[in-house]
């Protein structure tokens, strides 16, 4: 009797809590629906219409024409139009992929090195950690401008340093030249985001128990071997999460490229070309199609990564 009464009270308590939980979640869910789900759906919708920037409600449904349309002329010639046959779009896709893979790879390696340094005990570690945080704290636009000045072809300090040490024999127009624009962008991005990688790696390293290293030292195992056989496998879960966060950030990169190398076809990414069409070129629907494609590419990439890498993002595993 007493038992069943307790069960009834427990149930109502749980129900009461669940009802409260619903009302606690509702405002946040409404807000997220308004700023995320609804605009996303509208973007996808626009991509199937011929909406223009000045007449947002005058668009007609045109199916997949913004993506790909095939028309056969009377002469028998077949004309393909749309984003999927637009060389500028594929150039942007290629730029984005190249930028993301190279930058995230370099940042992961450098981030790990910095994290290993910060994980060691030495005098002034706090100061070094503070210094490493500075690039992260600087707004992207500001770092783009700072580096644009340092990379300036005539008065830039980078050319000056490289000339002095004899690495180059004439000044390079880093951001303007199509050969070097991507290097310039990568340089700034690596500088700006390696601290973030380092912090995430450091958090992973600090979870490795110290006695593992002690044991390896006593057994006389070479430190490099310890790193690859013990440390790396132990921090791999943390590393996988850090890499996906950075990768998603890199794949949608906009501000750095918009400011550092404006209008350069060598660095134009998917986000940059989409916005250009959406706002600047008054091809609102066409730009919508490109941003929808970008979203689809990211969604597929994340799903594959989580599925293949068995990444646990929820933090609930094992609990």
């Amino acid at each position: 009797m007493a038992n069943s009464k307790a069960a009834v009270v427990g149930l109502t308590l749980l129900q009461q809590r669940q009802r409260a939980a619903f009302w606690f979640l509702a405002p946040m869910l409404v807000a997220l629906f308004c700023v995320a789900a609804w605009p996303l759906l509208r973007t996808v919708w626009f991509s199937f219409t011929d909406t223009s920037l000045n007449n947002l409600y005058g668009g007609k449904w045109i199916g997949f024409d913004n993506y790909l349309s095939v028309r056969t002329l009377e002469s028998g010639r077949v004309i393909y139009r749309g984003t999927l046959v637009d060389p500028a779009w594929w150039n942007a896709v290629w730029n984005t992929v190249r930028f993301s893979v190279v930058s995230v790879t370099i940042e992961t390696v450098l981030g790990l090195i910095v994290a290993l340094v910060l994980n060691a005990e030495f005098k002034g570690r706090g100061l070094v950690r503070a210094a490493v945080l500075i690039p992260w704290a600087i707004p992207t636009i500001v770092s783009a401008k700072m580096w644009a000045w340092m990379l300036n072809d005539q008065y830039g300090i980078i050319n000056d340093i490289l000339l002095r040490i004899g690495a180059i024999d004439k000044k390079i127009a880093w951001t303007a030249s199509t050969d070097t624009a991507m290097y310039a962008v990568l340089m700034v991005d690596v500088w700006k985001t390696t601290p973030f990688m380092a912090l995430l790696c450091l958090a992973g390293l600090q979870m490795v128990p110290r006695d593992v290293y002690e044991a390896a030292k006593i057994d006389g195992v070479h430190p490099v071997k310890v790193f690859f056989k013990v440390t790396l496998p132990l921090i791999k879960p943390a590393l996988m999460v850090a890499v996906i966060f950075r990768m998603l950030d890199a794949l949608r990169v906009f501000d750095l490229i918009y400011v550092l190398t404006p209008n350069s076809a060598a660095t134009k990414t998917m986000s940059v070309i989409s916005r250009e069409n959406l706002i600047d070129f008054d091809k609102f629907a066409y730009g919508s199609a490109q941003s929808t494609l970008l979203f689809a590419i990211l969604a597929i990439f994340v799903s594959l990564y989580i599925w293949l890498g068995r990444v646990d993002l929820s933090g609930e595993g094992g609990k």
């Binding site: 605009p39 947002l56 000056d160 400011v259």
Partner: protein
């Protein structure tokens, strides 16, 4: 110590010095540049030779830049307050109440925080036009919710999940409603997490560029990053590097100070967003 060990020590400290110089030099050079004017700007100086404040006077005495700073402060603060207000109750529900679909909901929220912003740009543009918010601070406060809110919910949820169950049980036994539990029991314990997430959300809103560029159209409604990006000289060829560097230093110094003061909190906030022990 053997010679070998000495070599290792020297190599290690050399690496440390390289890391520090690489991190700090660009900002240092921006500060040096911001104090030079005229032809001195185009001599390459590794050390500050003069302290000429005229770039700062030009920027701060200008017509629009002080206004841009106020815009940024107002927008970032309001965004953070709004996000924290919604996130505290939501993350209590997500962290402490068991219900069906909780894991899925959490993953959705995390997914939204990783949204490519360009994918919602067209839809948000329409929404903001529809609400009549275009070219006002509210357009940015509304749109920044897309990345501040999921992030604050996520971090606060992981933080609340780790609080001991006993304190809540005691309150339940005393007959406290969930609302009382949040405001009287959890909120006092949450302060450190609120400061961290608030700070990180503030930095995110302060630095945002894409929405700010698209949803404002006049010089006086711009935020600081847009103002700096579009700062131009008398002609297109003549880029005013001195004032740009002065403006950059002005908006970056407060951030660097905040980050250095709250170093530990920021590191723990950043890592609980991604890596969970």
């Amino acid at each position: 110590m053997t010679a070998n060990n000495w070599m290792k020590q020297i190599a290690f400290y050399a690496l440390v010095v390289v890391i520090v110089i690489f991190s700090v030099f660009p900002f240092y050079y921006a500060v040096v540049t911001s104090f030079s004017t005229g032809t001195r700007l185009f001599e390459i100086n590794y050390w500050p030779k003069v302290f000429d404040w005229s770039n700062y006077e030009a920027v701060l005495g200008g017509r629009t830049f002080p206004r841009n700073i106020l815009n940024s402060v107002f927008i970032a603060t309001t965004t953070v307050v709004f996000a924290l207000f919604l996130a505290v109750t939501a993350s209590y529900a997500l962290a402490r109440v068991r219900f069906r679909g909780r894991g899925l909901l959490l993953m959705t929220i995390l997914g939204v925080s990783m949204f490519p912003q360009i994918a919602v740009l067209a839809g948000l543009f329409e929404l903001i036009r529809f609400l009549g918010l275009f070219n006002t601070p509210w357009a940015l406060i509304l749109s920044y919710t897309i990345f501040t809110l999921p992030f604050t919910v996520w971090v606060l949820t992981t933080f609340m999940r780790d609080l001991p169950i006993e304190i809540e049980e005691a309150a339940i036994v005393d007959g406290a409603t969930p609302w009382i539990i949040i405001t009287q029991v959890f909120l006092p314990l949450l302060w450190p997490a609120l400061v961290t997430t608030g700070l990180l959300a503030f930095i995110g809103a302060w630095n945002e560029f894409l929405f700010a560029l698209t949803f404002t159209s006049s010089e006086t409604t711009r935020t600081v990053p847009v103002a700096i990006a579009l700062l131009s000289g008398a002609s297109a060829q003549e880029i005013p590097w001195g004032p740009i560097m002065a403006a950059s230093v002005i908006v970056t110094v407060p951030l660097i100070l905040l980050v250095l003061v709250f170093q530990r909190k920021i590191v723990s906030g950043l890592t609980s967003g991604g890596v969970k022990g």
